[in-house]
């Protein structure tokens, strides 16, 4: 009898606990309702990509020396480098270069290792197309410069969270020259105690 009562008591306790947890959950959901929406109204508003954003890769045809380092460092050997050897000048002559962004994972290894810096990351991320073969960019398409969000008259550019002033969470209606929180990289460099060697090198350069 006592065991049975204990069972009933435990069961009731568990039920009340479950009800309590549901109540706690409800209060969390209710609390969220009074928070500001985090929405970016995409086609009309766009976030400004950060400096190190790894978007579509830009390729400069004239700088490329067809060394194929990009192919070797690529996890799947993706870049296609089409060249032939010019016997007269004893140099490789680049004919075509292409990257398929339907397969690329934007790891940035090629950009990292390119000896002539002819590959670089851009801030372009709107790569959607109706045909997956359109994602295979040739050297002409790779050479196009992306359209900057800040220069598009149809788009309201919004700063990302890390680029907002201190204590501000809403990127809408910021004053024009508001500074981001914390120091800029240049300021950190300037504030660093200059060690003599670097100073000498700098002077020599000047």
């Amino acid at each position: 009898m006592l065991g049975f009562l204990k069972q009933v008591g435990d069961y009731a306790k568990e039920s009340f606990q479950a009800a309590k947890y549901i109540g706690q959950g409800l209060s969390v959901t209710f609390d969220h309702m009074s928070r500001r929406p985090v929405t970016v109204q995409y086609p009309y508003e766009k976030l400004i990509p950060s400096e190190r954003y790894r978007g579509r890769i830009h390729f400069e045809f004239d700088k490329c020396i067809s060394c194929e380092v990009c192919v070797r460092v690529c996890p799947i050997n993706l870049p296609v480098v089409d060249w032939d050897f010019d016997k007269a000048s004893k140099k490789k002559n680049l004919k075509h270069y292409s990257i398929d962004f339907g397969v690329c994972i934007f790891c940035g290894n090629c950009v990292e290792y390119c000896p002539t810096n002819c590959l670089s990351m851009t801030e372009e991320y709107e790569l959607a197309s109706y045909d997956r073969h359109e994602l295979n960019y040739d050297n002409v398409a790779l050479g196009r410069l992306p359209y900057k969000v800040t220069q598009d008259p149809m788009v309201t550019p919004l700063r990302e969270l890390a680029y907002l002033p201190k204590g501000v969470l809403d990127p809408h209606d910021l004053p024009a020259n508001s500074r981001r929180a914390g120091k800029l990289p240049q300021e950190i460099l300037d504030a660093m105690p200059q060690d003599p060697e670097a100073a000498e090198a700098k002077e020599a350069k000047d």
Binding site: S15, I22, G25, L26, V28, T29, F30, H32, M33, R35, R36, P37, V38, T39, Q41
Partner: protein, 372 residues
């Protein structure tokens, strides 16, 4: 007891004064409240869909619809127009008759149940003796439509969804009926008008929620399960069953399920507000206020104001409950089918039986408070 305004009587009198026979006047009156309620129920879909989308958005820190009409209020209309103009596809191997009949059988009982929803002393289509029992009976028809839809789609997910829906509604109907029975026990009548009147007189203190807290919870949980709202939406759980019995439906046939589910939610909220939250009663007794101000209770303008407040209170209470249902949707995860049936049969059913027994005992002990 304050009789409130008698719209039917006034209408018939006005028509008779115009020179019509009373019979014709009554015939003219008959369709009026039905049409009004039908329109109100349809408008309630728009409001509910808008609320659902906006509240869901707010709970997830989104904005929700905002381009269709001011604040996105016309989003439901846009959805409806889209559904109406969408091609109505019947799958090649489906059973065309049952496939068409299914959604209708789901929707019609829901609209029929509005027959007994009162918005005031005389603001009800029919005050019939079986009252709330009619609603329970009608809501038990819906599983047939769900089974029909699930079976005729010729799709295993549809069939599973239909079977789950039917199992769910027949198992949650029992605790719901027992919770209603406890309320009926206190008011000595099945009529919704009598149930509200029994709660009136003491303002918010007289509402059944204080006398039936367990019953209120049981009824609300069972009503959510009957409406297939989260956390009990497993007949159409998209992760498991695509969309359950709705999988093969498009166009207005799907629209009927959609309409049915939202009207059913509003209807359940209205019934909860009638059974437990005092229906059209204001939180402070109107009789008491008018007595305090020294106004005669039968003053025509006061009756008009009371009736208006009554309608607003009923709708407000119902929508407050809808709000809680939407919040719950984003708070509680979906239960599994075995948990659902366990919860219904092993928890709600015994608890509602105990609640019924307690109510009967309390009624015998304290006939003053629990209805003699």
């Amino acid at each position: 007891m304050n009789q409130g305004i008698d719209l039917q009587g006034s209408f018939i009198r006005a028509m008779v004064d115009l020179g019509l026979s009373p019979g014709v006047a009554k015939t003219l009156w008959l369709p009026l409240p039905m049409v009004v309620i039908l329109v109100a129920a349809t408008v309630s879909i728009f409001v509910t869909v808008w609320l659902e989308r906006k509240i869901s958005a707010a709970a997830q820190q989104r904005i929700g619809p905002e381009y269709a009409g001011p604040l996105g209020t016309l989003q439901a209309a846009a959805d409806g127009i889209k559904l109406i103009f969408k091609e109505d596809i019947t799958p090649a191997k489906a059973d065309p008759w049952l496939f068409t009949l299914g959604p209708a059988i789901v929707v019609i009982p829901v609209f029929l149940s509005f027959l007994i929803v009162p918005f005031g002393q005389n603001m009800v289509i029919t005050d019939i003796g079986v009252g709330i029992f009619l609603w329970i009976a009608l809501s038990s028809i819906a599983p047939i439509g769900l089974l029909m839809a699930g079976y005729s789609s010729n799709n295993k997910y549809s069939l599973l969804g239909g079977l789950r829906a039917a199992a769910q509604s027949i198992s949650y109907e029992i605790p719901m009926a027992l919770a209603v029975l406890a309320v009926v026990l206190m008011s000595n009548s099945l009529s919704t008008i009598d149930i509200v009147n029994q709660q009136s007189g003491y303002g918010i203190l007289g509402w059944n929620i204080w006398r039936q807290p367990a019953g209120f919870l049981i009824f609300w949980i069972a009503a959510l399960a009957e409406c297939e709202r989260l956390p009990f939406d497993l007949p159409e759980a998209e992760e498991e069953l695509v969309a359950g019995y709705q999988t093969e439906y498009t166009g207005m046939k799907f629209g009927l399920f959609y309409v049915g589910s939202y009207v059913n939610l509003v209807l359940s909220a209205l019934i909860v507000s009638i059974l437990y939250l005092g229906g059209w009663e204001f939180p402070v007794s109107v009789t008491w206020i008018s007595g305090l101000l020294g106004i005669s209770e039968t003053a025509p303008w006061l009756q008009v104001i009371t009736a208006a407040i009554g309608i607003m209170m009923t709708v407000f209470k119902a929508y407050a409950l809808v709000f809680i249902a939407i919040l719950l949707r984003w708070t509680v995860p979906r239960v599994r089918i075995d948990q659902l049936l366990d919860f219904g049969w092993k928890f709600l059913l015994p608890v509602s039986l105990v609640n019924l027994l307690l109510t009967a005992a309390l009624k015998l002990t304290f006939p003053m408070a629990f209805g003699g």
